[in-house]
Amino acid sequence: MTAPTDTSAPVAGIPATGAARQLLRRLRGRPAAVVSAGVLLLLVLLALAAPLFAALEGQDPYAYHDDLVDSARGGVPYGSFGGVSADHWLGVEPGTGRDLFARLLHGARVSLLVAVGATAVQVLIGVLVGLAAGLGSRWADGILSRITDVLVALPMLVLAIALTAVVPRDFPRPLLLILVIGLLGWAGTSRIVRAQTLTLKSLDFVAASRLAGSGRWRTARRELLPALAAPVITYAAISVPTNMVVEAALSFLGVGVTPPTPSWGQMLSTAQTWFRADPAYVLLPAGLLFVTVLAFTVLGDAVRTALDPREASRLRVGTRKETSR
């Protein structure tokens, strides 16, 4: 996006110069987007500084506290709200007495890392495959599109379970989850990129670039990629929460992160039976997951709107038909 031609501006909606700045300006005008971004920023900060905050509380996410749970009653924490106290700000886990605040923060690391990492992998593969399909020969398009179709049709969760089960236990689990979710979930991005490429390909500014002597690769890089940024960023923003839920599901099914490493999904999985006896234990990870997913979704929606060419152009006349062709 270093030196884009002005020709791309009317179609893609954003002149790439200062595109990011413009996007930021537009997002700033939306309170929902600002709040979402703030929440996400806070979460990332908390996750990054998890050991620091846990130390501030004086707790370790892995230390057992047998004296804080009522062994005779199934291991439910003593005290109210799941054992909230000055030492344990959000209470303790039933059965083990491990500190929930520390576990939630450490869990955020895994959940956020996996969700964002997997999305990055999905975008990378999706854009490459989509571009190749859109620009390549009929044969290449046919093969790549069929592969994409198959991937869409496959039940992702089942495959992910199978894949995570066969990989040796020594392989770092968060990286494995990123790879598995990323490698199985790029089909959506690739379809959008292909469709968009096919549309863009026939437009004048791309044709002009080709006539001016640019090769396929150069055209893709100089003309198509900037124009694809809007839909791809939008789709990625919506994919993050989806991937977070997939990670939760995999950990929930016992093929995610290895215990005792906490993740929100893994916490939810052990919490599921406790919803009546110790509601706090279920509500904390569930609530955090909910807030994060909501924040990502709202932000994703805001980004989509902000990047929408119809929004971008003050002159709304005439742009609608072109983009929807």
Binding site: Y62, A63, Y64, D66, V69, D70, S71, A72, R73, G74, G75, V76, P94, G95, T96, G97, A165, R169, G254, V255, T258, P259, P260, T270, T273, W274, F275, R276, A277, D278
Partner: protein, 578 residues
């Protein structure tokens, strides 16, 4: 005694699941039996038990096997024992009395010859099948022979291992001559000839393979759709491979010949395939037909227990029982560093049984174990604690031992466990062990595997890791089926499922096992099993972690809840709904 892999594979799993699925437990009235292993009782509804009504059974697992040849049960099972009578059966009483074996079809527990290699039984008079034909010793013999047929596999391996010629006999469909080591001199007498002395034979005779099967009615693999009843109920409906069963009274069952089964309800309606949480919720709510409902396979979990804790009325409907079962850490001394007894001892000292028990569901659902044998007299329980870890572990002692063993800076080991959510070999237990060992400088890496590959690994002589979670349940409440498969060197199975995890092959231990098997005085045998357990325990070949406790709800109209130490769960043949 588990040799073939197919059969033996089922043992450990079956010992847990099937025994419980088909097992029974009881709690009779408000009196406390006092004994540690005794059952305390959910009181249930007031008033004496009366005949009549329909008993609903809400289960999670369908009764997919209903052929007496294929069932793997302890003491004849729970629902199956309503339909199948066996030569002997478990005493249907609460607590320790319930771990005794008593006569059922036979007049006594069997008369052994001098060295307990030949057992003779006489059938009671007036025994009839559901169609009114008399039950003869030939029917019992035929039932046993069927269990040798390959298509009807699934039962316990004892008959195959013990009977003369049992290892080569292929069942009545292939071999018309029959099994020569089971002799029926007349219609009421049956004699078993064994390869070696087996003092605990009367316990084996409680299994459903000892139920009579009329040869004329045998339909092979289809027999389970309508097994011919010898007990108080007959099967009138079996839908979806045991998902829905309806049992009604067998008019030809004579209560005068059966002192064990009370058979109060007129009808038993089994509805299986339900979610466990749903079962417990329905029993707790007890609306309409659920008021007269029990479950024969669903325990209360820790969260449900926490929930019930505050509700006195509900707590009164919880039956508590103990089934002979031990969860433990197994070592394979063929793998370093577990060849070093000091390392094994260090781990024994470091274990924190309080957090392990909490991980297993808390003190109401698990009791800390320092012995391999369960804490019941019938097993020969002899208390010992060779490596006293106290309530929460002794990391200092463990560190000292590690230093002596040549690991002054601690060591790193990998613990194999399963990912099943069973709170016995599951991640919760593994992490509790990991936490405690960490304090002693032992870094534990966890290797969680899905249940099938977990079992394949731990039961393999070749691939078994050095350090893993395991468990063992009793086929009957005595020391034999508890200690022999785990510590008898001749039961190391190299090409099948091996339960002798430590691969112990100690001539002295083997000899003692043979000696005890000769005893027909079960109490004397129990004492010696206990002494043997204590002796083997000193070698730190395993770390006993806990014995589970079973808690189950019954519907609000249920009376006469009897929970024995044999099965640890309610005995369905004693329940009344009126």
């Amino acid at each position: 005694m588990r040799q073939s892999s197919v059969i033996s594979r089922r043992v450990a799993a079956a010992a847990v699941s099937l025994v419980l699925a088909t097992g029974a437990a009881a709690c009779a009235g408000p009196e406390d039996t006092g004994a540690k292993g005794g059952a305390s009782a959910g009181k249930g509804a007031a008033g004496g038990p009366q005949k009549g009504g329909t008993l609903t059974v809400l289960n999670s697992e369908a009764q997919t096997d209903f052929d007496p040849a294929r069932l793997y049960t302890s003491g004849g099972g729970n629902v199956p024992s309503l339909v199948f009578r066996t030569l002997t059966t478990r005493n249907r009483e609460a607590g320790a009395a319930g771990s005794k074996v008593v006569p059922d079809l036979a007049t006594d527990l069997g008369r052994p010859n001098k060295d307990a290699t030949e057992w003779t039984y006489t059938l009671k008079e007036g025994l009839k099948f559901e169609d009114g034909t008399p039950i003869t010793s030939a029917d019992v013999k035929y039932g046993i022979e069927r269990s040798f047929a390959a298509e009807l596999s699934g039962g316990a391996p004892y008959l195959r291992d013990w009977l003369v010629g049992g290892d080569t006999y292929e069942g009545p469909y292939k071999d018309k001559k029959g099994l020569a080591s089971v002799v029926t001199p007349d219609d009421r007498t049956i004699v078993f000839k064994l390869k070696k002395p087996e003092g605990e034979f009367p316990f084996v005779a409680t299994q459903t393979q000892f139920a009579p099967v009329p040869r004329a009615k045998d339909t092979g693999a289809k027999y389970e759709e309508h097994p011919v009843s010898s007990g108080p109920y007959k099967v009138v409906k079996n839908e979806n491979d045991g998902e829905r069963l309806v049992l009604e009274r067998n008019e030809h069952w004579d209560p005068k010949t059966d002192e064990e089964r009370k058979a109060y309800p007129d009808r038993i309606d089994v509805k299986a395939g339900l979610d466990e949480a749903v079962i417990n919720q329905r029993l707790a709510t007890s609306s309409r037909s659920d008021a007269a409902a029990v479950t024969t396979d669903t325990n209360l979990g820790p969260a449900e227990l926490a929930q019930i804790g505050s509700d006195k009325a509900l707590a009164a409907r919880v039956g508590t029982g103990r089934f002979g079962f031990t969860n433990y850490i197994a070592f394979n001394p063929k793998v370093k560093p577990f060849d070093n007894p000091k390392v094994r001892q260090a781990i024994s000292y470091a274990v924190n049984r309080t957090s392990v028990v909490n991980a297993a569901g808390g003190s109401a659902l698990a009791e800390p174990a320092t012995t391999f044998l369960p804490e019941q007299k019938s097993f020969g329980f002899t208390p010992y604690d060779h490596f006293p870890a106290g309530k929460t572990g002794d990391p200092e002692k463990a560190k000292a031992l590690l230093k002596e063993a040549g690991f002054p800076n601690g060591l790193t080991v990998t613990l194999l466990h399963s990912t099943a959510q069973n709170r016995t070999t599951s991640p919760e237990i593994a992490t509790a062990v990991q936490e405690a060992l960490g304090k002693a400088g032992i870094t534990v890496k966890l290797d969680g595997q899905e249940p099938n590959s977990f079992n394949e690994k731990r039961w393999s002589v070749k691939d078994a890791p050095g350090f893993f979670l395991s468990r063992w349940g009793a086929d009957w409440p005595a020391g034999g089926p508890f200690l022999a498969p785990i510590f008898d060197g001749r039961q190391i199975v190299t090409n099948g499922s091996n339960y002798n995890h430590a691969q112990l092959n100690d001539p002295a231990v083997n000899k003692e096992i043979d000696e005890i098997n000769k005893l027909t005085d079960l109490q004397a045998a129990a004492v010696r099993w206990g002494a043997l357990d204590k002796k083997i325990g000193a070698q730190a070949l395993d770390v006993p972690l806990f014995h589970p406790v079973y808690k189950r709800l019954v519907g609000k109209d249920i009376k006469n809840v009897v929970i024995s130490d044999w099965t640890g769960v309610l005995d369905i043949s004693q329940v009344s709904v009126k």
